[in-house]
């Protein structure tokens, strides 16, 4: 069983990176073993990789429904539990209830979006992780996990696409 090693390299251009990744794919490196880190979001599929389906939209919808139900409970049901009469209005009416339901639905949507995206990104994730400090200075860092025998070929591919600082990734505590 061959060891797997990690390699990191810095490239400066999306086209170079995409080319390098294509050739790495051809070499047999699986997409899940390639991580590209950048300081700028690149559009989906610009780097030639498939995008994953997110559960975030479902989390948001679930949160919104939860907020809707809670708002409904507060505005429509709770006045009947703690009954006090108000002159000229029934205890629960459409217009005031609509305001409360709307606001709680939106509150729950926002909070569930935030918590959902954190959950999906597995944040906060402190501790050591392979990273390069120059990522935010406009470089794309390509991190690959390959069996040891593919190391030389991978290096060659990356160098052909103007990669720099090729080597073992530094495990920086984030």
């Amino acid at each position: 069983m061959s060891d797997t090693i990690r390699l990191i390299a810095l490239l400066s251009d999306a086209t170079q990176t995409a080319g390098a990744i294509d050739e790495l794919h051809a070499l047999g490196v699986a997409d899940s073993k390639i991580v590209v880190m950048s300081g700028v979001p690149y559009p989906e599929r610009a780097l030639g990789r498939h995008t994953e389906w997110l559960t975030l939209p479902w989390i948001v919808v679930a949160g919104a429904i939860g907020g809707f139900v809670f708002g409904l409970f507060l505005a429509v049901i709770s006045p009947h539990l703690y009954r006090l009469d108000i002159g000229g209005h029934p205890p629960a009416a459409f217009a005031p209830a609509a305001v409360i339901v709307f606001v709680f639905t939106m509150m729950a949507t926002i909070v569930s979006t935030f918590l959902g995206v954190l959950w999906e990104m597995d944040f906060p994730r402190f501790g050591r992780a392979p990273y390069h400090n120059l990522v935010t200075d406009g470089n794309l860092a390509v991190l690959i996990e390959i069996p040891a025998d593919l190391q030389a070929k991978s290096r060659a591919i990356i160098e052909a696409h103007h990669g720099r600082h090729i080597g073992e990734p530094e495990w920086i505590s984030l």
Binding site: V35, V36, M37, S38, G39, V40, P41, Y42, P43, A46, L47, R49, T51, E52, L54, L56, P57, L74, A75, S78, P79, L81, Y82, L84, I86, H89, A93, P96, A97, V99, I100, F102, V103, F104, M106, M107, T109, I110, V111, T113, F114, G116, V117, L118, E120, M121, F123, P124, R125, F126, G127, A129, Y131, N133, V135, T136, D137, G138, S173, L174
Partner: protein, 477 residues
């Protein structure tokens, strides 16, 4: 490189290296990412004597205001100028004003993001911070104006052994919920968009700053998966926060409109207030940006194109405000109801006439001024114009809240109002509090959203159309 005949702009301040042409496009500037990072971090890390002097002055005003507030709690609301029938005065006025200010941030960061307006890129964070801090400051007022603030927690629905529950039909409860929602939303929005820049700051600083950014960057590395999820979350946020921002000021306006007080009981109040909020908020944002640009020397990032576009947006908001104001006024004036007539006459020709004409001129003149490119792109002129707008809009809230309460259906109950030092001190405290929060924010957090600017630079190239060389934005999301 400019897209129009560049108006030479005089810059009296000393030059920051390198030379930045104010009229050139930010997103086409010949700078590397590393240089941009450096340019953003430098003003953040530098705290000179001016900064500390400002902090000291603001803190002094805040301390005095806190003293005034404790005096108010100790002795009662009689220390203000309120009376019967003018039960709501400066506190509620300033409350509405701050809520109005808070609307600019969402306008810029959410609405313009959805419209893919690239000129928003350097200002979204400053705008969102303005929203968050304006809401924090505004949220103090429902507490300040309470007769028994120590019982304020009764507005929270919690089961208790007296079987008492708050009244969800009351607009004040809607206020409580809506403002909390908006505050939470804008803070989370601000933070979420901040994470990649905190990671950048984490990588470029040392010491306590590095530790602080490490914690709040949550271990961000910038992998494609992380970006994908963040962008998706920001898209959802942008869409979700717009109904919230429209509803918050509508709900605040319903504090007034649901009563049968003449002049308050008007269906136009909700859109009128929202439009006024956008107008005053964007003006306050422009004022803050001009001041911050000068104070933190961010001339490289806040260029004439941004103020030009912002000025045009303020002008449009002003025209919208005028339309809604007129729609309300003509209906009141025409109906000739006696109490409404008394209210209008006290404003147009009575004791409140100076305030009324101040309001109208301070709101309408800037609309005309902002049509001139010279005004929009000269920081000094723009600052004067937008400060005038803020004065006008504050006066407008004064007249709506206080002016309307002075007249009602039974003439025996007509009244008047004079502010006291307690009210003025507390109002000043909130202005200083906002300014202090903002100042500290600008030194702790990268003020300019660096990753959004870098993302924008990805999109922009120069393209030749015939004899013209035009900047072109790619339609990537």
């Amino acid at each position: 490189m400019s897209d129009a005949a560049a108006v030479p702009v005089g810059r009296a301040d000393s030059q920051v290296e390198p030379q930045t042409d104010y009229d050139e496009r930010l997103l086409l500037a010949q700078r590397t990412d590393a240089e941009i990072n450096e340019a953003v971090l430098k003003p953040m890390l530098r705290t000179g004597k001016g900064f500390w002097a400002l902090v000291a002055v603001l803190s002094g005003i805040i301390v005095w205001g806190l003293y005034a507030w404790s005096y108010l709690i100790q002795w009662g609301l009689g220390t203000t100028g309120k009376n019967r029938p003018v039960y709501w005065t400066l506190f509620i006025t300033t409350f509405v004003f701050w809520i109005g200010i808070s609307h600019a941030g969402t306008m810029i960061s959410a609405v313009l993001r959805l419209l893919k307006a690239d000129w928003r890129r350097p200002i979204t964070r400053g705008a969102e911070a303005m929203t968050a801090f304006a809401l924090m400051v505004a949220g103090l007022y429902p507490l300040i104006h309470l007769g028994r603030v120590w019982k304020a927690y009764w507005m929270i629905p919690y089961p208790n052994n007296r079987f008492m529950w708050p009244n969800f039909q009351s607009p004040l409860m809607w206020d409580l919920v809506a403002i909390t929602t908006y505050l939470v939303s804008s803070t989370l929005y601000l933070y979420l968009a901040l994470i990649p820049d905190l990671a950048m700051a984490r990588d470029h600083t040392r010491g306590w700053r590095h530790r602080l950014y490490r914690v709040f960057a949550l271990g961000w590395r910038g992998t494609e998966a992380e970006w994908h999820k963040l962008m998706r979350a920001l898209a959802i946020f942008s869409v979700a926060i717009i109904p919230i921002f429209l509803s918050v000021h509508s709900i605040v306006s319903w504090d007034f409109a649901v009563t049968i007080q003449p002049r308050w009981h008007s269906t136009i109040f909700a859109p009128y207030f929202v439009m006024g909020a956008v107008y005053s908020g964007l003006s306050a944002l422009a004022a803050i940006l001009i001041i911050v640009r000068r104070g933190m020397r961010l001339q490289e990032f806040l260029r004439s194109e941004h103020f030009d576009a912002l000025g045009k947006l303020i002008m449009v908001a002003g025209m919208g405000w005028t339309y809604f104001w007129f729609a309300g006024f003509i209906v009141e004036w025409y109906g000739n109801e006696p109490v409404v007539r008394a209210l209008i006459s006290q404003e147009v020709s009575g004791r409140l006439a100076p305030l009324f004409y101040l309001q109208m001129s301070a709101n309408l003149i800037p609309i005309v001024l902002l049509a001139l490119r010279k005004v929009r792109t000269t920081p000094a002129f723009l600052l004067a114009t937008v400060l005038l707008v803020n004065v006008g809009m504050y006066t407008e809230r004064l007249l709506i809240v206080i002016g309307s309460l002075q007249r009602n259906d039974i003439p025996f109950n007509w009244g008047t109002y004079r502010p006291t030092w307690v009210e003025i001190s507390i109002v000043a405290m909130t202005f200083a509090g906002f300014a202090l929060l903002y100042t500290l924010f600008s030194r702790i957090v990268p003020y300019v959203p660096v990753w959004e600017i870098k993302e924008g630079r990805l999109r922009y190239t120069m393209r030749r159309i015939g004899r013209l060389l035009v900047p072109t934005a790619a339609d990537i999301d």
